[in-house]
């Protein structure tokens, strides 16, 4: 069995090397967040031997870590980004909520009720996923301008909810399809209304699926760029859009940008680990059920 052990070791080694290569940029970026300027701009690149610092995080979050523990410094400075994180959190949370409410209602009907054109309806929902964001953002800019929705939370929440609807509807439908329809039918025989069945029986049974859908909607809103770039100016700005703020006339503040970037990855990564089980189903909008 010597050959088998050798090939297994080789395979394990190859796997670690390949995943290591994919992980390297994340390590490098995070290390930049903890570096002083001279370690960032060194040549050859300084990968491991640098003096770590919290300076970048302190500037971005408006906190200072001194002898007396964490103190909040009054906000300010060009790179103070705590409000931008807050904007991102509000937009992602509310748009997820809107998308989930609308999608669960619709996908329950698509999963349970027979009606003419149901197949076409599903295809129509799917086709809206094919719209390039720029084809929506350009007209939406003018429409929002007319309704005073530019640069507002309402506008951003609505557009992100819309962006996530095809995913949420198709994914929730696949989760509802997993719940046997006999449960609904026996409840109807007992005299329960559709809405009661939906609220009391089907929704609780689909809890895991709803959570997975919500996490994916949150992440897609969290990482969205084009709508946020086009439909906001000063009132609110999400994290992906503010990266240009760090590019100044005296050079790019890489350390501060890396601190914001690294901090913005952490919550999303924890979230996605929580739904690992449903991840593939989510990434394929419910069409693969593993």
């Amino acid at each position: 069995m010597n050959a088998s052990i050798a090939s297994r070791t080789l395979r394990t080694l190859a796997a670690w090397v390949v995943v290591g290569l994919f992980f390297f940029p994340i390590y490098y970026w995070t290390s930049v967040a903890f570096k002083y300027g001279n370690d960032i701009f060194s040549r050859p690149p300084n990968l491991f031997h640098f003096t770590p610092t919290f300076d970048n995080f302190q500037k971005v979050f408006g906190i200072s870590l001194g002898a007396g523990g964490v103190t909040v410094t009054p906000g300010g400075g060009n790179f103070f980004m705590a409000p931008r994180l807050w904007d991102s959190i509000v937009v992602a949370t509310l748009s997820t909520l809107v998308a989930i409410v609308i999608a669960t209602l619709a996908s329950y009907a698509l999963s349970r009720m027979q009606f003419r054109g149901r197949h076409h309806f599903v295809n129509w929902v799917l086709s809206t996923r094919m719209m390039p964001p720029v084809a929506v953002a350009v007209p939406m800019f003018f429409i929002y301008k007319g309704f005073g929705l530019l640069d507002t939370f309402t506008g951003m929440v609505l557009i992100h909810a819309l962006m996530n609807l095809p995913l949420a509807v198709l994914l929730m439908k696949s989760f509802f399809d997993d719940i046997p329809a006999e449960i609904d039918e026996s409840a109807i025989v007992d005299g329960a209304s559709r809405f009661l069945i939906f609220r009391r029986i089907v929704l609780p049974m689909a809890k895991g699926g709803i959570a997975a859908t919500a996490v994916l909607c949150f992440i897609f809103s969290w990482t969205e760029f084009l709508f946020a770039l086009t439909l906001t100016t000063t009132g609110l700005k999400t994290v992906p859009v503010v990266s240009s703020t760090f590019v100044t006339s005296i050079g790019t503040a890489w350390g501060n940008m890396a601190a914001l970037g690294a901090a913005s990855i952490v919550p999303a990564f924890i979230f996605i680990l929580l739904v690992q089980k449903h991840l593939v189903r989510g990434l394929t909008m419910g069409s693969l059920k593993q």
Partner: protein
Amino acid sequence: MQAAQVRRFVISDHPLPWLLPLVAILLVFTVYPLFYNIWLSFHEYAPRRRALEYVGTSNWAQLWEDARFWQSLTITFAYFAVALAIELVLGMAIALLLDSDGFGFGFLRGLLTMTLVIPPAIAGMMYLLMEDPQFGVISYFLQWAGLLDPAHPILATASTALAGVLLPEIWQWTPFMVLIFLAGLRALPREPYEAAMIDGASQWQIFRRITLPMMSKVIAIAVLIRGIDLFRVFDYVFVMTSGGPGTSTYTLSLYAWQQTFSFVKWGYGATLSLVTLVIILVVASLFIKVAKVRW
């Protein structure tokens, strides 16, 4: 309507009340913008009158003669084809590598999902730093290996800029393919493999004759979903090169966006974004038909 009537309608078996919120938001946010875009494509902003003017089909006629449109279409297609091919092949290879119950493999699969949650705009900035000609780590190693001339920075040279933008794209989305393919591989039945082993088939034959055909549905879905996103690429080019140097990395989405918001060519920008939409819709619908993808 009386309250009781409304209630009876809502609790009845009719799907309309359930679908109404979805239909309303899709009409307002996709159908209305679509018609607005079509209307806009027959108009153009007149700076002197500070208003939109009807220009007939001149925007559409301009499309045919606009060399920059054809260039951005070519660039978008090159970006799409190269990224899709590399992500497919690399994704399949890594999925086959990681398809093991050995110690640590679950951890490695989890680690690989990390790239998917990074905002593409931030990933673009990461690679902007790493491809910097002076202190970027990727440029440094390429120069050290003699593969890159220090006088020609990756993103500032027309011939390599698109490759520089493709790097974060491939880095971020190959794991997407890996995860989907891994799920497909794990769901395959064992029997055909056992039979092939008995018949003494080679590893390549097994992959070519058994794994690939059985994975065709999974591959089709991965191609469809990734392909749609690739054709509307915007984030990486916007933050990394803004279309430059010159016009060498202008994708369709970026060109449409720039016409609207930088050049105040609202009508032409709308025309370009409509063309992008039509190409994606036609190609994706054909693909769904041919590959028999179903939701």
